[in-house]
Symmetry: C2
Subunit: 87 residues, 2 copies
């Protein structure tokens, strides 16, 4: 399945969140990761994020799609994806 | 159709970008808007963003889905959506 993960972590946890996210997905923009993921890895990803999250400060939204068949992705402006310019 | 808009604008343009986005979609998290939108409004939204964007500094990704039938949305941690706590 295809996942879009958007996250908003307190400064002191954001790097760890990104590190966890990048083990499973691709960084595409500030606070946004996406990619194909197996169900098993999706469960693992959520568990790792759950252990990191401070529910009073941090927020994660996970959009999952069985397939990308019915979707489109458009980029405007600067292309930020790819692993070299991580922020 | 359903749209997820993630944006990364330079500080001096980010409020304008959010203002444009919120005319068509719902703010759900820092730099993330989503919602159902007509094709006509989607074209208008993109035009307005296009006029604002500095292609050397700003980045927008638009994920569009014909329907939400094949998708799921999960939130972890703090729920940031709703119009009262805009950042």
């Amino acid at each position: 399945m295809f996942v879009i993960l958007v996250y908003d972590f307190a400064q002191k946890r954001v790097n760890k969140a990104l590190k966890i996210g990048r083990r499973y997905l691709h960084w595409v923009q500030n606070s946004v990761l996406e990619g194909e993921i197996s169900k098993a890895n999706f469960v693992k990803l959520k568990k790792e994020l759950e252990m990191l999250i401070d529910p009073d400060e941090d927020s994660v939204i996970l959009y999952t799609f069985r397939s990308q068949k019915y979707s489109q992705r458009e980029e405007m402006g600067l292309k930020k994806g790819g692993d070299d310019n991580i922020i």
